[in-house]
Symmetry: C3
Subunit: 492 residues, 3 copies
Amino acid sequence: MKTMQCMALVILLLAPFSALAEDAAISEATSECLDCHATIHPGIVNSWQSSRHALMTPQAALAVDELARKVSNPDAGANMPNVAVGCAECHTLRPQAHADTFEHNGYDLHVVVSPDDCKTCHLQEVDQFAGNLMAKAFANLDQNSLYQILVESIIGHPQIKQHKIEFQKSDEATRAEACYYCHGTKLAVTGTQVRDTEIAGELAFPVIAGWPNQGVGRINLDGSTGSCTACHTRHAFSIAMARKPYTCQECHVGPDVPVYKVYAASKHGNIFATKHAQWDFKPVPWTVGQDFTAPTCAACHMSLLVDTDGNVIQKRSHQINDRLPWRLFGLIYAHPYPRSPDTTIIRNKDGQPLPTDFAGGFAETYLISPEERAARASLIQQTCHTCHDSSWTKGFWSRFENTIETTNAATLTATQIMQTIWKSNFADPDNPFDEYPEKVWSNVWLFNANTVRFASAMGGGGDYGVFADGRYQLSKTIVELNDWLEMRRRLK
Amino acid sequence: MKTMQCMALVILLLAPFSALAEDAAISEATSECLDCHATIHPGIVNSWQSSRHALMTPQAALAVDELARKVSNPDAGANMPNVAVGCAECHTLRPQAHADTFEHNGYDLHVVVSPDDCKTCHLQEVDQFAGNLMAKAFANLDQNSLYQILVESIIGHPQIKQHKIEFQKSDEATRAEACYYCHGTKLAVTGTQVRDTEIAGELAFPVIAGWPNQGVGRINLDGSTGSCTACHTRHAFSIAMARKPYTCQECHVGPDVPVYKVYAASKHGNIFATKHAQWDFKPVPWTVGQDFTAPTCAACHMSLLVDTDGNVIQKRSHQINDRLPWRLFGLIYAHPYPRSPDTTIIRNKDGQPLPTDFAGGFAETYLISPEERAARASLIQQTCHTCHDSSWTKGFWSRFENTIETTNAATLTATQIMQTIWKSNFADPDNPFDEYPEKVWSNVWLFNANTVRFASAMGGGGDYGVFADGRYQLSKTIVELNDWLEMRRRLK
Amino acid sequence: MKTMQCMALVILLLAPFSALAEDAAISEATSECLDCHATIHPGIVNSWQSSRHALMTPQAALAVDELARKVSNPDAGANMPNVAVGCAECHTLRPQAHADTFEHNGYDLHVVVSPDDCKTCHLQEVDQFAGNLMAKAFANLDQNSLYQILVESIIGHPQIKQHKIEFQKSDEATRAEACYYCHGTKLAVTGTQVRDTEIAGELAFPVIAGWPNQGVGRINLDGSTGSCTACHTRHAFSIAMARKPYTCQECHVGPDVPVYKVYAASKHGNIFATKHAQWDFKPVPWTVGQDFTAPTCAACHMSLLVDTDGNVIQKRSHQINDRLPWRLFGLIYAHPYPRSPDTTIIRNKDGQPLPTDFAGGFAETYLISPEERAARASLIQQTCHTCHDSSWTKGFWSRFENTIETTNAATLTATQIMQTIWKSNFADPDNPFDEYPEKVWSNVWLFNANTVRFASAMGGGGDYGVFADGRYQLSKTIVELNDWLEMRRRLK
């Protein structure tokens, strides 16, 4: 009891919004959950207890001023009981919709809470996220025949077959732990298991294939896609955590998308590292200059930003690409952003399911127009301008677009060598990813050209633009590929 | 004087346990040390001054409740004077036992404080640590003939000899700075040196070969092994520091054991990075959900954990392997944990001093049984359950054990290629680690398979499971090895 | 208004020196700047508002005690108005000197503030920095014909020409974003651009080639070199930030100079990571043991350090090399520090513009003498001694100098192989950096030998001394180079 008082004091000191805590009663159902689970799972229960969900009702959350409002579904008050958002409130939502709903101590509850559950309060965020490439991360990988060849050439089981390495199809556990750890797995209920629990004796639980997983494009048991907990970590679901770069690092540390490393070594990252203990990551809207003085990933890509007079600089968006003119991640070249989050529909001029062809041409039908690119560039630059003048931003941006061109040109050089290798029968293009020269070639576009572009995008460079998987390795790898080819030519 | 008061105030504000400070008198001997060394070495003296050692006597430390007690030797009160544990208390302990004991201003003191000194108060911790693989880190490397070949093929002096690179024996300084920096050096007194000191004129000091070193398996001048300061950094010896992942990073940042990087990019690491400024790293026992809400290295592997009702979840252990069923670090395959911390006794079926043979078979006589593995798995999962339910833990664990199998299988494929290379006389198996294909092969098991396993063990994956020294590089390296072989076959 | 009061309160609580704030009036000119820019650029304005510049006049700054004084120009009081150092105070300094001076709302202001502006108050720091290798970072790279061949072999545009990769000259944007991002660009006004601004209608601004840039050796528009904002980040110019290792990480994260990574994994870095939230990074002088208990980069290389009695341990220096006996960065070998910051004057015995010849000999005329090396070693060791005794420091230092020798010897072995390759016409030495074996050879000295040396210099080792770009990769790369040679020999 004394501990609880003490903790309450700490919360009062740290979290101004806890003034609202007195309004948020805990439902009887959630109380029952807590009776056992507070002791069994003290870690997550405590995370929840100090979260906004535990301290506020949906009704109170709806009543705050529009810019500060976090609940975007106007029906949230009607949809939800007037209690704190506790265990039962989420895990018993829409029981008929979830294939993993099971009877547990008198309640119909489901294990995997989905975006379609979260949408009961956070409608706009879920809808926006659905327009995001990440929402389709499962299918975009799983339903693309060419990417599947790449996947299996990386995570398949290597076997020696007639003097070659053959990759035999990967098993489900490996898929779930490798690519689909971030992309999201496809969940499925495969049965029921009875376990003898310490507290309540024998209880039955659903067995779920693909579980656990928190990938951004997870296929859920109610048919929805995505996992809000990828970024809004259970069970605090803290906006403060999602706004820090550590969250993005979980999937973007490299060398394919080394943005966390690039950020950490950038001027922005330096300011963040030095100063963020004095910043406030909780306010909505988020005031540039007052709450923070250098951007994190969220500040540029998602957050609702205002200036110190309260004027909106950027609207909140969970559709990250509405500020992104280019897709830097080279497949195999960087290219204008896809129009649709579903990239499985894309075909390049050679019929391949790729946004660019091997000669570097864009599959323009499926990609945004130059006008849309200009509009998006202009939109994200509004954030730059909160600290930088036009000449700075313009100088930075023209270098960035030059780097997209030059790295695509370098990738083309590497691809021309690779095509000579294929034409010379030194490698088999049927699987373009499984032989040694092909793996050298992959390094060029998947790691080196990407690293250079991300370094450029996030401030200009430093080591990631040159020595740390950047232009040094880009040039070396192309030369290695050519050296390999020339050796085979001599032996022909 | 004003500064000291101010500092005292700071200490009072920051460290609740300083209420005990008034009890801890400083011995006359330590006062004499401080008279000079407080000015000569202000860094370490201040670290000590704000440490528990400076604020508490062994007698007071013994009097606290059992779960909270940090002094495990019941004789500590009798063994030690009733004063703060200062410079003299440790550096004059057991003078006859230490080869580096020398007369210094009227005291017989030694430079290198050893675990056998620490054990005067911290008996259980030292005894437990002795059962740890790390306690034997010096001999396990130094006395293993095969590992020594590997060591010298890495840190030996490369020379061109008849068109080959020959590695000439490494010098002592290099050994101390390379492998033995973490494994620990063997200390030896080699003489005495007289130095003209600013404060006290000419003084004699012992000359110690292998010094400085703080490696976990250091051979000390009293014959004991280990160095508590490897983790409990001098001269604060802070439990809070040892519980943070930065301590483990000193030796485990990769790519052989990239656990710090993996942790930093994991969900656990994200929560730690975002939240730890609000956590309390000092309490013993350590309460899950109250003191912290996501595990650090120590929480899973060493610390005494209780739930919010004070029930013990895990006992403190300095024998880390009592919660580890598998040794993930591949030599050359991952394998069940060795029974004894002394791995020099292990012989595989081919007579090699390795826990597995080159075909992947386990040297079972020397490794723990499946039953013991199951018991250890069950023990460490108790920590998982403080935040995760059984279905989560089970799903995670089955993927993890699958990954041990698949990475061992990939290592076998690489080893089969390597054996063909040896049989074909394209490389000489007498030293299996010094030629180019052998170094490519080493990458497979030493870096790539290990990285994949550690990524799996610590949450599932992310980039370290695939693109960052993970499966991408694992597959590429195997293909490179085969490519090398095929080229030699063509030229045969 | 309420927000401003609240912010003031926060500032009072956080920054004791703000007691002086009442003295610092804001000039009319700066007020006019703020009228618009506080809303347009809230990020930088707020950074400035909480900075010492905003809270203190140059006159007040001059009046503090000598050791605590940050303004080293005795004429600062006469040079500058008795107001806070705001936008106008710096951006209108010396208008005739700056090529980018333009009329803006009635003021003659320039975009790029230079060290020669900063020197109006911070004379000594600017003068010292000019003696630093970094101050010449532009010319030392740009005017060295051999380094330019290396640069273009990395950042040039790779093209296939007669079965070889030819690097066509890099474009300006790439140069500015790659090497010159850290080294500094050469700025030049190329014209004027009129922009239609939201607040003030059409305004004319200078167009500046090479902008933005904050590289340490930037060639400024007043002819001066360097950029104080490389480390003293705009617009807080915080000494606290410059003293944290994150600042150095911006250019030194590796693998050529991986010092941030090495530091993070060192004992010093562990203490910093664990403890720095309780340290005070602002005081001048900086008291070892009281303000901090483990060094950051600045503590060893730049800062004014005193002991707890106020005795000076190290003087402040912005000429970093006055404590550096060796240049560890191998070009192509580590070597005694150059005498002059201008390294373009150096010629080795073979006439190449390199501090060492390819056989490892030092270009001694241009490098400091053994006596000077000893003096510098002794100077930096004074900092070591604030925590370590002589035997520790001596042991550490002798290993460090041994490592310089052994890594130079390994580089020699690699270079001998490379010379055989050149002599055998397997590669063309005219450009010694653009073919595959040459790029393998570059890895040896540019990445691996450097990493080993920096790991040694900063505490002894850990993974960066062995497995993480260290001796493991050093040995592997040499063996790879030899393997490449032997294959060509067989085919000859």
